[in-house]
Amino acid sequence: MRWLLLKDLQILRRSPLQAVLLVLYPVLIAVLVGFAISRGPEKPRVAFLNEVPSNARISLSGTKLPSANVQRRICDKVECVPVHSRAEAVSKVESGDVLAALILPENLINQINSLSTLLPGTPKVEVIVNESNPLKASATEDKITALLAQANLAIAKRIAVEGSKYLNLVIKGGDLPVLGGGVHILGLRASAQILEGLEPALPKGPLRQALGQVTAFANEAGENLDIAGPLIERLAQPIQVHKVDVGGSSPPLETFAIAAAATLTLAFVTVLLVAGSLALEREENAYPRLVRGLVSPEALLGEKVLLGVITGLVVTVLMLAGLAIFVPLEWSRFALWIAAILVGGGASGAAGAALGAAAREVRAVSLLAFMVTLPVAFLSLVPAGTVGHGLFDVIKVITALFPFKPALEAITAALESGNGTLGGPLLHLAILILAYGLIARLALRRFARV
């Protein structure tokens, strides 16, 4: 077996393009995944025209509220490109320099302030998008709409807090700042106390009874308005989110991305190499000569799977080492990585052997390997709940028949503690090794046909 292995490695070395692809491919994947998970999403460029005067403030009962910092809130989430006119904003959107433009008109604060008057206006902002790319335009519009919703919320919270302060003043009393000075407000509680003190001084009769009613009203109003304060603050954000995780051990996104990249590399390298190398034995007409007493078909299959596993192991570990530059990996679990890669590679190699034995020609095998591996990999990454129950059940059955998903589960579990158990996926992979090995052995019967 070792001489056949040496021969296959010599052939691989003689195919510089193939060898370079085998090394470059995982390096490229590692760099791309590394950058993707370590840099976070780029902010969309949005032209921003703020025509609101800098000293304009939302006012409540004649008092100006502190700034809600709407511009800062928006520009934290998108890359704001300052523009000086609407025409400049439109021009930038049209040229593609920015994805969209957001214009806060000069009268925006006045319109907001009018909401508390008898003649309420409609505060509006303008969003300009380029519809030539509907997908991008829709995504940008959604992002800006979400940002404006956040800005609305911030303003509402500010108003609620201020409103709550005034309410407190009415209940408990205090000083109300007016025109640089202050006006003392007695407050409902103090009013009730004064009235209660006056009540015994009055003779029994209709006047004392009326005063009693006013005192009772002041007490009740104070108590009821006391609970209105928090209610007003809640109105700004009536629905709170309480997140409960019942999914058990979902791996962090970074670990999952690394495991997916590693599994994809392992699957492609082993399936393509084993399938192609086995088909090459037939294309070179060497198979009948080999199995004429030199090597048994089982040993030949074993050699091909071993070739795939060794190459897959080297390439995948190289890729993980490359990813470690971007993301810290738990090197203390290295032995578990190796176990997952070896068994996952073994199952992918056995599947490659079955493909190679069935297709028999290198070109057909390469095409078949891509046609099988790529869709199975995509299906394996479909999360539960994103498609209908019936369809997801079908996907589960299909992905269970191929090594990608259990290999992904094994590598995810091996990379980091708390990402599920390793035993189940390894057992699944072991069963697939046996099943695909048997299929490959049966398909090899056709190899010998003259």
Partner: protein
């Protein structure tokens, strides 16, 4: 080598219908016949690639070297690497010495470091045969060895093969080239539709055509005409 009553079926089709023959040491036997006659099937059974459904082959284990119709070589390996691989797989005690011997025998010593894909079809076939000889077989089976070779390469190939026979190797080869069979085959086994119609020398086949008395003149024309006439008289 002795073959007795060999039968092979592929589904409903009977590819060999009880073929028997024998070959002595140093003999060059040409297996000829029209397409689908069963030549490759016969050689594959003798080589142990296919199992016969009936009959048996009497030959010592490991005594048969087999050279398939298309060169069974790794084209990305060099001449030497190919020979060394098969010598190692044959478990030769000194594989490097065996490689040297085969390089000398095939006359490709100077091209040992060349990748097989860059060699001519004739030279590839010589390596193909050299690999078949690595096991030092007493019987060498060649399936259409000269297909695709130019006349010069063919002449060089047959000089090489004849040399093996002179050294005592039994050579059994199939061919479509009737003139080649006459020139190099000491004996001819004519197959048609899975049956062995004739087993003898070229002169004996001409004599058989003459004895048919349908077109006796055909026996004195070229050997291909005599061969075709022989087949036609027997309904093939």
């Amino acid at each position: 080598m002795q073959a007795r009553g060999l039968v092979k079926r592929f589904g409903d089709r009977e590819a060999l219908k009880g073929v028997s023959f024998e070959a002595a040491p140093g003999e060059l036997v040409a297996v000829i016949g029209p397409n689908g006659a069963g030549k490759t099937t016969l050689l594959s059974i003798l080589a142990g690639i296919l199992k016969a459904d009936g009959g048996d082959v009497d030959v010592a284990e490991g005594a048969v070297g087999w050279v398939p119709q298309q060169a069974a070589l790794y084209r990305r390996l060099t001449v030497e690497e190919n020979l060394l691989l098969f010598a190692r797989l044959e478990k030769h005690p000194d594989p490097h010495a065996s490689v040297e011997e085969m390089l000398e025998l095939s006359g490709l010593g100077e091209r040992r470091g060349e990748v097989v894909a860059r060699l001519s079809g004739g030279n590839q076939q010589r390596i193909n045969i050299a690999i078949g000889l690595l096991s030092r077989p007493s019987v060498l089976l060649l399936d259409e060895p000269s297909v695709g070779l130019d006349p010069r390469q063919r002449a060089r190939l047959w000089k090489f093969v004849s040399g093996l026979a002179v050294r005592g190797t039994t050579v059994i080869f199939s061919t479509h080239d009737i003139q080649e069979a006459e020139r190099y085959g000491r004996r001819m086994l004519v197959l048609a539709d899975g049956e062995a119609l004739f087993d003898g020398s070229a002169d004996e086949l001409r004599e058989a055509v003459r004895e048919d008395a349908v077109d006796p003149a055909a026996a004195d024309r070229d050997f291909e005409t005599a061969f075709v006439t022989y087949l036609q008289h027997r309904g093939h």
